[in-house]
């Protein structure tokens, strides 16, 4: 996947999520940051002024990485795999502790080939965090995990950030990005379509009010303009002024003694923003024919 015009900066100690559909270019981007691939154009800097490819020897003792998949020998046990990485890492944490943190102590002597998909991801995470890295790259860390494994991984990632690690994480789970990231960028077809905090990204997208309306009242009677839709006795109001319109509707209901069934006021979700961004970018595709330089900076 080629990526174009990718530019972002990750603040030290923060968690930055690259969000996107499969094939959006997340892995290509993170592999350039890791120094596994060099950009054709543009520049990438880690720790202020280090180039991931040219300064690899200086960068590696300070970073940890989890690839999107694999990278472990099937015929080694989980413990042997961590021991191997301990031998390749400056100042590794004790092997038993790494296995414990990843919740793999009871599976330490199982061959990698016999671990479940989720357990392999946890082994990967144990290795990526073995040297308590300043910067951690996690490429889809929870892909293929069950809900419990996913939440355990999130806890571990949050702990690492609290201890000061800067984390760049790719995911196609919106919930994961929303729950973990300080800032995020939405990638679509090799470009960054939007970036910022979750509230910055969703702020440009309309919120919704939904409720049921009974009796003689209909959508036309409501004191709000704009997009009001009625379907199956439920009203959906799409608004850019959630608080004002909600207050107006509640006051109107109070005045007219109307009960609004299951009234819900909901700001735009990341999912709605994401879908809308993807749709807009698709129609704009022809406008982006130039091969922009990748410019990415990760500071720590």
């Amino acid at each position: 996947m080629a990526v174009r015009g990718v530019s972002f900066t990750v603040r030290p100690g923060s968690l930055f999520a690259l969000l996107g559909t499969n094939g959006a270019g997340k892995t290509s981007t993170v592999e350039m940051l890791e120094g596994l691939a060099a950009p054709h154009r543009g520049r990438i800097r880690l720790f202020g002024d280090l180039d991931p490819v040219a300064d690899r020897a200086r960068i590696r003792p300070r970073t940890g990485a989890m690839l999107q998949e694999g990278g472990f020998t099937a015929h080694l046990t989980a413990r042997e795999s961590v021991e191997m990485w301990a031998g390749l890492t400056s100042r590794p944490r004790p092997v038993a502790q790494a296995l414990e943190l990843a919740g793999l102590s009871h599976r330490a002597d199982v061959l990698v080939k016999n671990l479940s998909g989720g357990e392999k991801r946890r082994l990967d995470l144990a290795v990526a965090t073995l040297g308590s890295p300043e910067v951690l790259f996690l490429d889809e860390p929870t892909a293929g995990m069950d809900a419990e494994g996913r939440h355990a991984t999130w806890r571990l990632v949050k702990e690492l950030r609290e201890r000061g690690s800067t984390i760049l994480l790719t995911t196609h789970y919106l919930e994961e990005a929303e729950s973990l990231a300080d800032e995020l960028a939405i990638m679509h077809r090799g470009r960054i379509a939007a970036s910022g905090t979750v509230s910055e990204i969703v702020s440009g997208h309309p919120a919704t009010l939904t409720f049921g309306l009974s009796g003689q009242w209909s959508a036309q009677d409501l004191p709000v303009g704009g997009a009001v839709e009625e379907r199956g006795g439920r009203i959906t109001v799409t608004t850019g002024q959630l608080q004002k319109d909600a207050a107006r509707i509640l006051a109107w209901a109070e005045d007219h003694d109307v009960e609004l069934d299951r009234f819900t006021a909901r700001p735009a979700s990341l999912e709605e923003a994401f879908i809308s961004i993807a749709r807009v970018t698709d129609t704009d595709d022809d406008a982006y024919d130039t091969d922009d330089a990748a410019e990415t900076q990760e500071e720590a």
Binding site: E34, A57, R60, L67, G70, G71, H75, E80, M84, L88
Partner: protein
């Protein structure tokens, strides 16, 4: 460059390959039993040649033949397979996210097979010396043969792995070296048995200098200048294969 971490990384990768080598018992057959069988059959083939007519002593010839075969089968083909297998498992790519350098990743993985090949060559060399009553006369030349052979085989393995698309293609990719190299490098057929112009030309084949150096370890036939020429030829081939590997080696499977 600080060499201490590099040594620690090498030791770690050696230890891991040693563990894996012992875990898959079939390795014993491929790396130990098969080369020895080939060696025994070569003993029979060389018995059929009239070596004395060419002024050749079978003892040193057997040593250089054994060393050449072991370098190709125990080292070259095993290391080529190792590089491709580790690439397919994404192990090489994963290792590159760590602190070990590219050179250490490749050398570390191969080091276990180097150790196996060295032990085999020494044991077989000693056994053949006793069997044929041929004492080593130029240990320096034998050591030069061993070193040039090892680095050449590793560079060739890396270059071959660079050209292999999948684990299945290793078999085909290593065939030229497995079949042609012993024929042209004085391993199966001593060059003296061939017409002189052919024999002279084949001195320039990749493994010929190594085989000559091994043989001279037992015959003492090469002077210093001739030995240096052979070391230089081996070094040029090694550099050529290393250059191909550096340009073409892939650290992850093709997608």
């Amino acid at each position: 460059m600080n060499s201490r971490p590099a040594i620690r990384h090498m030791k770690t990768l050696f230890r891991i390959e040693w563990t894996l080598f012992n875990r898959v018992k079939a390795n014993y057959v491929f790396v130990v039993f098969v080369p020895l069988m080939i060696l025994l059959s070569m003993r029979y083939v060389q018995d059929q040649m009239d070596l004395a007519r060419h002024g050749l002593n079978p003892g040193p010839l057997m040593v250089s033949t054994a060393a050449g075969i072991l370098l190709i089968f125990s080292l070259y083909s095993s290391v080529t397979g190792l590089y491709v297998a580790r690439r397919e498992e994404l192990v090489l790519k994963r290792l590159r996210t760590g602190e070990a350098s590219d050179a250490v990743i490749l050398a570390g993985g191969a080091s276990m097979y180097v150790a196996v090949a060295v032990v085999q060559i020494v044991v077989v060399g000693v056994a053949l010396s006793v069997m044929f009553g041929a004492a080593p006369r130029q240990l320096g030349a034998a050591a030069a043969g061993l070193v040039t052979g090892i680095v050449l085989m590793i560079a060739m393995a890396a270059a071959t792995a660079a050209l292999c698309r999948t684990a299945e293609s290793v078999m085909v990719a290593t065939l030229p070296a497995i079949f042609v190299l012993p024929m042209v490098s004085g391993i199966y057929i001593p060059r003296e048995v061939l017409p002189e112009p052919v024999a002279d030309a084949l001195l320039w084949a990749p493994l010929s200098p190594t085989v000559d150096l091994f043989r001279s370890g037992w015959t003492g036939e090469l002077g210093l200048g001739e030995s240096v020429v052979r070391v230089v030829i081996a070094a040029v081939w090694t550099a050529l294969f290393a250059w191909v590997a550096a340009r073409r080696f892939r650290w992850e499977p093709r997608t």
